[in-house]
Symmetry: C2
Subunit: 329 residues, 2 copies
């Protein structure tokens, strides 16, 4: 397996100038600064890479997909800004979040402005009328589903038990659909036929789900120094993940279950209590279960690509699916 | 002058079913309910009426402009939801605001979802590729400018003196550009030539500015029972309007100026203090000045329509410009 981090870094380098191109110096300066903060700060650039790789993997001219890649990255960043407000997170990758730095009103507006800019960039796509409409439909449906997924995430924190199916549906909406819109858009620009587009859609949906399951694993069992995530937060917030869904059904010892329930969702849990929950989750096999589940989705994703002919871009897409469930960041 | 309220009410009736058409029953229910709250509650429907009337006034088939009218109304409502969070307003037209009813996280998501839905609806427009791109560009530029205008509004509350030019630029961005995108979009769908589109763009921009100046007048000098606006709030918040911009330059009496400055922007001003400021603003001629300014923009708007041939839709557009500066609501 090649290291997709290296390819992601290469794509990011090329993308960065385009990401900066559309956000001009304008007044009021504090808004423009807030709009720039997240997209300029980098990140993994997985979604735009997926746009470009999908376009290439179906034999398309990759440069034509760049405006879509930029638009998708803006949309992803707009959702991050609003997410951070919703979750009350004060830091992202060691930096102050948008609302912490600029205040909530400006952060809300910066997200909205970035969202508007994303669709502005889309109007530049060099594709047929029919494809432009399909891309519009798929991205706007993704934004709609994203909001639904985020709302389900909020609802899931309200104390009711969440089944693994609920969890998968939540992350499909929250992450899978924008991954799918990215890959489908790239493939459309690349001139793929409908059968290929459907396979790529399934690939990217499974990839997104694998990614999110693993993200949630890193949030509970990852190394906070590498991930930049505070390990206890998801537990304190009572966030349902593949791990906790499994635990809710698998912890047989009554005392352990009582201990687990007394800490899960308790916003001021101490580091020691978080440690207790982590070891309960290890003993119940819930972490291992979640890893297996992520790997299953990753394999499902890869299997969808069999109808593509060999290419560097196809290899990257395969590697990305493996990276999704092996990364430490 | 015909009463545009009657025509607005008629257009609203036809629009309502279309506005409801696109927001299906889906889970999670609390999000869908929040998404529906503002667009279902009605309102003046000025922007969508402008879309439809512009289309008709240039000889177009008005039914073709309905998806754009719906999309613009969604966009307007999404900005209202986020605005209410930003301003911390607890009521809108006597009803609890979105974040008051559903909580800020759901209100943020409801706005985002509505925004996404707006662009989803646009993909259905029965127009040429070229016109679709022009409409996309003009609406997304409007959303971008809207966020800039709202940020300027926030910045304007931070104590520095705002000139009348700053104020006009703020409301042009906040209100003028979406009015313009509405009318321009309608005219494009109606098949207007570039010269007509430019005139209609100037008409709608001036109309939007007239509307907003008058809205700000109603916020300070209107009848709160009719407007549903709490009269003191703009003064307590230190919001710059045409009235207060004029006052800052025109109050000659030092004592009055001192009194004005001690109350303007004082968040806990009493009803009595608000009354004092209102009578100072009347004595300084600032309210009359603002009314004249709104009337000037209204007249400018009307004069731009001279190149259109006579029609009911043109009459409505003229009446709308007059209504903008004579209404009590």
């Amino acid at each position: 397996m090649a290291d997709p981090k290296i390819i992601l870094a290469e794509i990011s380098r090329d993308l960065d100038s385009r990401i900066k191109l559309y956000i001009k110096d304008e007044h009021p300066r504090n808004l423009i600064e807030a709009v720039r903060q997240y997209p300029y700060a980098g990140g993994k650039r997985i979604r735009p890479s997926l746009v470009i790789a999908s376009c290439g993997a179906v034999g398309g001219e990759k440069s034509k997909s760049i405006p879509l890649a930029v638009a998708i990255e803006y949309i992803h960043n707009f959702t991050l800004i609003h997410d951070d407000i919703i979750d009350g997170d004060r830091e992202r990758r060691g930096m102050p979040t948008s609302h912490t730095k600029y205040g909530t009103p400006t952060a809300i507006l910066a997200g909205d402005a970035l969202f508007g800019k994303a669709f502005n960039v889309l109007s530049e796509l060099d594709v047929s009328d029919k494809d432009l409409r399909r891309i519009l439909r798929s991205i706007t449906a993704a934004v709609w589903d994203l909001a639904r997924g985020q709302q389900m995430d909020i609802n899931n924190e309200c104390g009711r038990t969440v089944t693994i199916d609920d969890y998968i549906e939540t992350i499909r909406l929250k992450t899978g659909v924008l991954f799918a819109a990215s890959a489908v858009g790239g493939a459309l620009i690349g001139g793929a036929d409908d059968l290929t587009i459907e396979a790529i859609c399934r690939y990217a949906t499974s990839l997104g789900i694998a990614f999110q399951i693993f993200d949630d694993i890193l949030g509970i069992a990852g190394d906070p120094i590498k991930t930049g995530k505070s390990v206890g937060n998801d537990i304190r917030r009572g966030k349902y993940t593949a791990i906790t869904c499994h635990a809710a059904e698998s912890i047989k010892d009554e005392n352990e279950m009582r201990r687990f329930c007394s800490i899960f969702g308790k916003i001021d849990s101490s580091e020691e209590e978080i440690g207790v929950v982590r070891s309960i989750l290890e003993r119940s096999g819930s972490i291992a279960y979640a890893v297996r589940l992520a790997e299953k989705y990753s394999k499902d994703a890869v299997s969808e690509l069999s109808l593509l002919t060999s290419s560097e871009d196809k290899d990257f897409m395969i590697d990305l699916a493996r990276y999704a469930v092996t990364r430490s960041v």
